[in-house]
Amino acid sequence: MGEYIAIMIAAITVNNYVLTKFLGLCPFIGVSKKLDSAIGMGLAVTFVMTLASFATYLVYVFILDPLSITYLDTISFILIIASLVQLVEMVLEKFSPHLYKALGVYLPLITTNCAILGVAQLNIQLVQSDQYAFGFMKCLMNGFASGAGFTLALVLMAGLRERLEFSNIPAVFKGAPVTFIAAGLMALAFQGFDKLVTITVN
């Protein structure tokens, strides 16, 4: 159990995909204008990340590895992620049209969100290296926790930006520049979690 908690903490803080690995910056800047759409986007990404960890693990362990065609991992992962995103899009359009509208173009963009491919790749590397006896459940946990970390970063950023809207910023910094500066400072703060838990592959 302790290992699972360690994985969770590591994925949310030390290995936060946005703020320490700098993956998935497009939705991080694009969807963090409003708090509710940020939460929606975070949940969608978490959902896709968990499902992607699940599917990529199965495909890797039961298809790619036995046939020794592991060099095809990226292309098959992209295939899996793209199909999943399509599925999520359909589900959202059917059951939550408002969220579908709020996420807009960023929802199909999850397809090419490098954070999700990053999670899949990191999982596979951890499975291969076998340092932490990385199995199916741990992969799922890592995917879910990485999504949670992404959501956390997105929600924090959205909260910051909603306040930034009303603050007195010099004209040259208005809009994207001040957002980038805030993101950089947040990333700096997240460096403080370094060595809290070590689950990394180098």
């Binding site: 495909v59 298809i63 790619l64 046939l67 020794s68 065609i69 095809l72 292309i75 098959s76 295939l79 899996i80 199909s83 399509q86 599925l87 359909m90 589900v91 359009e93 059917k94 049209p97 040259v172």
Partner: protein, 314 residues
């Protein structure tokens, strides 16, 4: 053998996902009004966003689902409103067609420059440098951000950076209005012809110093107008188009010719080419004079040096 497995496994995987998605699409399909597609087909497909929706597809959804007005599409004009009225059983709304006008005609030849701008070719960038290269702080920057914003190729830029709206081509979509850092693009009724192509709120003297075509607030147009359609406010002649009859009295009396009608393409390009030749000649003369002056300087200096040398030798 390896390549066989590779092709088979990835092919089967994609087939599986494809079938899964097709199934999901059937089960999770959201029923859409077939009218949305019909409406989208008759929209102009310019995707300019003037209606406030993301593209023509967005507006067609808005028309059917949100029941918004049928007069929001400027590029479609009256024709589209009539078509939509028939299709959606609504009354025809007679909106007045508008066009964009750039209220500045100062170019490299007519308006003085503070400095030579060699930066990024974008008006908003140039304005960050002391409000643009023109001495006039109200005038057109002339780098054509509006030209690039126009979805209908209706804004032209001449060789000496005069930006003109080609009025017959303008659809009144207002895409160019927010792009302008100087806010000098105004929407005006399309049936009007004459306008004051100056936005300077400076007094007559300063305006005259830095621009040959700037409104000097001399009030000659106000006096010439029989219909009380021109008012000079804040040192700028402003038209009341409800009273204007396009009699052209004001364009005749205007000393800097800042009040004029939109000019046809040929005339404008001819004018600018002539102007460009003049401008280039003037620049050449200036440069030549500078070079000559330098030569004289160096000659005299070298002479002095030689004389000094001779003195030392002596």
């Amino acid at each position: 053998m390896l390549i066989f497995w590779a092709i088979l496994s990835v092919g089967l995987l994609s087939l599986l996902f494809g079938l899964g998605l097709a199934l999901a699409h059937r089960k999770l399909a959201v029923e859409k009004d077939p009218k949305i597609q019909e409406v989208e087909d008759i929209l102009p497909q310019a995707n300019c966003g003037a209606c406030g929706y993301p593209g023509c597809a967005g507006y067609s959804v808005g028309l059917i689902v949100d029941d918004v007005g049928i007069d929001l599409c400027p590029p479609g004009g009256k024709k589209l409103i009539k078509k939509l009225a028939v299709m959606l059983d609504k009354e025809v709304i007679e909106g007045e067609p508008m066009i964009a006008r750039i209220h500045c005609s100062g170019d490299l030849r007519t308006a003085k420059q503070k400095y030579n701008y060699n930066g990024i070719n974008d008006c908003n960038q140039a304005v960050a440098m002391f409000g643009g290269s023109k001495v006039c702080s109200y005038g057109c920057v002339g780098l054509g951000s509006c030209v690039r914003a126009c979805a209908f190729d209706a804004i032209d830029i001449t060789k000496d950076l005069d930006v003109i709206v080609n009025e017959p081509k303008c659809t009144g979509c207002t895409l160019c209005v927010p792009v302008c850092p100087k806010d000098i693009i105004h929407m005006e009724p399309a049936k009007t012809e004459i306008f004051n192509s100056c936005s300077s709120l400076d007094k007559g003297g300063p305006t005259k110093k830095y621009c040959n075509v700037g409104c000097t607030a001399c009030k000659l147009c106000e006096k010439a107008c029989e219909y009380d359609a021109i008012k000079v406010e804040n040192y700028l002649a402003i038209f009341d188009y409800e009273k204007c009859t396009h009699c052209n009295d004001c364009t005749v009396v205007c000393p800097p010719e800042s009040i004029h009608a939109w000019m046809p393409d040929e005339l404008k390009s001819e004018r600018s080419e002539i102007a460009l030749v003049d401008y280039a000649k003037a620049q050449l003369e200036k440069d030549n004079k500078k070079v000559e002056a330098k030569k004289v300087d160096t000659d005299s200096e070298s002479n002095k040096e030689e004389k000094e040398k001779e003195k030392v030798e002596a």
